[in-house]
């Protein structure tokens, strides 16, 4: 929920924030494809550094980004520690030995690489998602990726209901407490109450969805044969350049990893 709810101010006029959503998603996807096939500190480190350097150009403030990203940072640390402890590579100097727990310099390096890789995969995606306006995304998906308009704009409308459902969930919890339910120590009873609350939320969501569908049809959505788009999503040179830069960067990362001998494909 933190990712959805924390207030974050972004500057929509920043050079990379202004790019077409499809270009942003493509630019974020290209390096992660590479990182999924290779586990080496060189390519992951290079890519992560490059994306970190690009953060100001996305119009996202550092403090806001950190506030939003703490669950991710936690995940990176957990992955690093987990890999450092559980890896089979236990060569090098012993750093910590406590019973079955053994951490060596090699296992620590393995852990750090794993963490670096997770961060390098996640950061581009997070930057893209944070700066994409859902309406622009729907427009671009319909125009450039040929996603059916019915699906794209229908999802968009449903997406708008998410915060309403979050608020409804809170109200349902209070309403149950008012009836004397909740706060039980008996887990079975607590589960029953939770189930009832979830069902009530679902009933409300279906009803809202039905109303929304009627409202959309009242404005000709269902009968629409030749839909136009008021906003003109542009996929310009700058957007192509963003995708190309991402591809180039990824290629350089592979090259450097190969040259330094660090390259280590997952499936080998």
């Amino acid at each position: 929920m933190t990712l959805l709810q924390t207030h974050l101010s972004t500057d929509p006029a920043a050079p990379l924030a202004r790019r077409n959503p499809v270009a942003k998603l493509a630019a974020a996807l290209i390096p992660s494809m590479l990182l999924l096939v290779s586990v080496d500190p060189v390519s992951a480190g290079l890519l992560l550094t490059a994306w970190l350097v690009s953060v100001p150009a996305w119009g996202v403030g550092w403090s806001g980004l950190l506030r939003r990203l703490w669950p991710l940072a936690l995940a990176v640390v957990m992955v690093s520690l987990g890999n450092a402890v559980f890896t089979a590579r236990k060569g090098g100097a012993t750093l910590l030995e406590a019973g079955p727990l053994l951490v060596t310099s090699e296992s620590l390096a393995t852990g750090a690489t794993a963490g670096l890789r997770v961060a390098a995969i996640a950061l581009p995606g997070v930057l893209a998602v944070l700066t994409i306006d859902p309406v622009d995304l729907a427009d671009s998906l319909v125009r450039y990726v040929r996603v059916p308009a019915r699906f794209a704009y229908g999802s968009l409308a449903a997406f708008r209901l998410a915060p309403l459902l979050a608020a409804e969930w809170e109200v349902l919890g209070r309403a149950r407490r008012a009836r004397g339910l909740g706060g039980d120590r008996n887990p079975l009873r607590a589960l029953t109450v939770l189930g009832g609350r979830l069902f009530a939320l679902l009933v409300g969501a279906v009803r809202r969805g039905t109303h929304l569908a009627v409202a959309m049809d009242a404005r000709g959505f269902a009968a629409s044969a030749h839909r136009t788009c008021a906003r003109r999503p542009v996929f310009g040179r700058a957007d192509a350049a963003l995708v190309a830069a991402s591809a180039l960067l990824t290629a350089v990362a592979v090259g450097v990893a190969l040259a330094t001998g660090a390259w280590s494909p997952v499936l080998s």
Binding site: R179, V214, D217, R219, S224
Partner: protein
Amino acid sequence: MTVSDGGAAVRIRGFGWRYAGRKAWACRDVDLDVAAGERVLLVGPSGAGKSTLLRAVAGLLDPETAAEVEGSVQVDGAPAAAARDRVGMLLQDPEASLVMSRSGDDVAFGLENAGVPADEIWPRVDEALARVGFRHGRDRPTAALSGGEQQRLALAGALVRRPSVLVLDEPTANLDPDGTATVLSAVDAALAGAGTTLLLVEHRVDAAAGLVDRVVVLEPGAGVLDDGPPDEVFGRRGAALAAAGVWVPAPWGPAAPPFRPGPGGDVVLTARDLTLTYPSTRRPALSSASLSVRRGTAVAVTGPNGSGKSTLAMLLAGLLPPDTGSVLLSGSERPLHRWRARDLCRRVGTVFQDPEHQFITRTARDELLVGPRRAGVPADAADRRADELLDRLRLTRLAGANPFTLSGGEKRRLSVAAMLTTAPDLLVLDEPTFGQDARTWAELLELFVGLRVGGTAIVAVTHDEAFAGALADARVTVSGGALRDVVEVRS
């Protein structure tokens, strides 16, 4: 620039509609002719099929949801389903009518669907926004608008398609008095000189009567009962309509009930310095609020939407933990929000704005047994109390019915009854009269007056001036998260 292509005539002949799975017809035997440019208000008791009829005119009734259909509905000679482009519709809940996250995009949505070329869209959007008096820019997030502004935006979204018929289904039902005035004046301004045909269902008939030149009275299952200019129809039928629960406007309807003071008593609830800031917002929803409530009195809490009055109600009811300050019930040192739910429900009853949020069982009678069971009341005493309450609130006939299938008024009465089963010292009511017909309204008032005589303390958050005027021994105004005036009312 033209606002519409003029009005269209609506012709309804022997229309009837029965939803699948229902025994009763939603409406039947309706014959009605509305000339192009006429402005018509449909009134009738709940269950008269007003909403169904409006949807039929808008061509939005899905034949697959019907068990039986009779007659025809035509817009300028064409079946309504084929004339959808000529009819604009506005629904009750603006939250569930907006599609886009930016205001301008939302208005443009209907034009995109109609295939209007992109360079013609924005001038028309701007024109529609100006027409309804929308004060913000096109980039304004729809989520940042108040309910009245959202409904105004939804109206622009309907008008931008230049409909020949505008159909409004209780457009102000979810709004506070300011929002209601905002939307109705926008409708009036938008239609001035446009010649658009208007069909309106509005729960607060008094607020809408000035917009129309014709009133049509519908009778459940029996079509049109009366038809004519507002003063004639209300003059002829005012008393009968009021008895059926319709809110009849001032000269013809019953006068507002007078203030009846409560007996008073000891302080039962004390709130000190309550402050609460919701996560993900910066401004506190409520700050440094202090209030005490006596037995046998009623306190009305009023203020605009978003002022923090519902937050105050939830804090007073022990349903939300405050950041600072405390709420104490007489005889206990434990702050109310720390009470176990089963103890809380014995002394504080809370009635939520939407009754459905509180229903947790499959039958109306079971709803009345939940509280006593949790509070440890013996079964036979609980049974007796449940039957007594069902009888008192005219629900005996519905004891075995699923709460979700009841009418709006029945749901409200049941949700109040469910809170009375444990005979709480304090009743907290969040908009108890919201959306109720005149008959249920009067019954609720009578019930609360009686409870107060018995020593119950009542805190009511309400926009309803008539209700507050008749019941409140003290008035509290909340604005911008602070309690402004705390006034004792003298009889």
